[in-house]
């Protein structure tokens, strides 16, 4: 397990909240499932169009980057002005995107 594990999970939620909120999505739901093996973070963006799935897919590139993780994780969710969402993809192992009943559901899996 890496250092600051719990803080990093919270920061992922911070970053996604900032990202989605700044894009005008103001109805969000969160779920965090933390176990000794992995953390699963589920974010539900309510009342969206399917287009958001493609946008998130294009903007978040999933490739866990262990060496950058402990260097830059504290920046997550810190900069409201930035147009870019860079760090989340470096901190997670997998992302699933589902569009269901006018909601976009983003699931991040982070192995410990």
């Amino acid at each position: 397990m890496a250092v600051h594990e719990i803080e990093k999970n919270i920061k992922i939620i911070d970053e996604m909240t900032m990202y989605l909120f700044n894009k005008g999505f103001h109805k969000l739901g969160f779920e965090l499932d933390y176990t000794s093996k992995k953390t699963v973070i589920t974010i539900t963006v309510k009342n969206t169009e399917k287009e958001l799935v493609e946008v998130i897919k294009n903007e978040i590139f999933i490739e866990r980057d262990q060496e950058l993780e402990d260097y830059g994780w504290e920046l997550l969710g810190e900069c409201s002005g930035s147009r870019e969402i860079m760090c989340v993809g470096m901190l997670v192992d997998d992302m699933q995107l589902i569009y269901k009943d006018s909601n976009t559901i983003v699931t991040f899996i982070r192995n410990h």
Partner: protein
Amino acid sequence: MNIKLKQTMLVPYIAILLMILAFVFSTPMDLLVGLKEIYFSKSNLLTDYIQLAGLGPTLLNSSILVLFSYAIVRMTKTPISGPVFAGLMTILGFSFFGKNLLNSSIIFFGVFLYAIYKKISLRSVIVVLLFSSGLAPISSVIMFGLELSLWISIPLGIIVGIFSGFILMELAPHVIKFHNGYDLYNVGFAGGILAIVAYSFIKLTNSTYHFSILVNDTYHYQLLIISLFIVLVLMIVGFIANGKTLDNYKHILKKSGRSVTDFTRKNREGIALFNSGLTGLIVITTLLVLGIKFTAPAFGGIMTVIGFGCFGKHPKNIIPPLLGVILVVLIFGLDFNDISITLAIIFSTALAPISGEYGIVVGLLTGMLHLPIVSNISNIHGGIILYSNGFAAAFTAVVVHMIMVALERSDKPWQFMKSKKTSK
């Protein structure tokens, strides 16, 4: 065909080239004597190793330290990603003026100790480890710069160095929030804080320490040719590795470069390498146009810019701050060949993310603000941190960023799709 470069990014080959050149410029005996001079110097900012020991030993020192650092990276099974490339090239550059195997390995050991203590993988500390050697003079100054008995100074220098590396690993990720990633030399800021503490103690307990500036421009042409050769090789190899196309270069130029932007992600190491070469070439051309002589610190600065060409810098975001510094120099009639001005021009590119995020005008003004700040900052850290510009850039970045945040209107949020300004 896209060639996989992530195992080397040409770094070991550049180091081997420097080693071969070392033997071209000096005899083996001169190299040994020169290395001894380098290892036992106080190595504070600015100690030009070429002035101290000659070109051959300086090249050999750089080569040895880069190969040693590269071996650590490979040992931890880390690919040469953007930040790792930046770290290795920064080591290559700064081992021309302040870093050597002796003082850097003490700091490295402190970072390793952090990983062991926290029971985390060595790979997760590798980025800070590579940049941590900016604080290497903390050991050298205590060991060889305070005129203490070696029985006291050597153990003290080692203990303080190891402790600094240990603390730096916790401090660097934490202080990145101060400037929000707009200063690319974040470890310079973290290291600068520790350097202030160390220098304050040194001043309190020892009045013999003075930080002096040693610079030699005798090898202008040799250093110019070596740097031109490196940038051209990076551009050519990068271009070939990218399938002999520059189609995806726009993806890099679109990035603000704010930390932590790794240009090698998505298998873009070829185009990232090309960008590194081109970014370096722009800085070399700027120095030549301004009639600046190539010295060890200037060469070191160029290598650092090349390194960060994979980790945040590109032609579009470095030119505005660079021009900003030049403008201030022209307005106040300062000397471009003053080494602190030369370094301020080169290292103002640490603020590239500001122009990447807020545009040319803000980038230019940021560069103008950077020069006066960096000119005064070495008095508070006493040259114990090599990344003086990186330390100063954090203050410039936070001022400019806060001004921009203050000017931002809440009714004009950033939007990526005009049709989705509000939720339904």
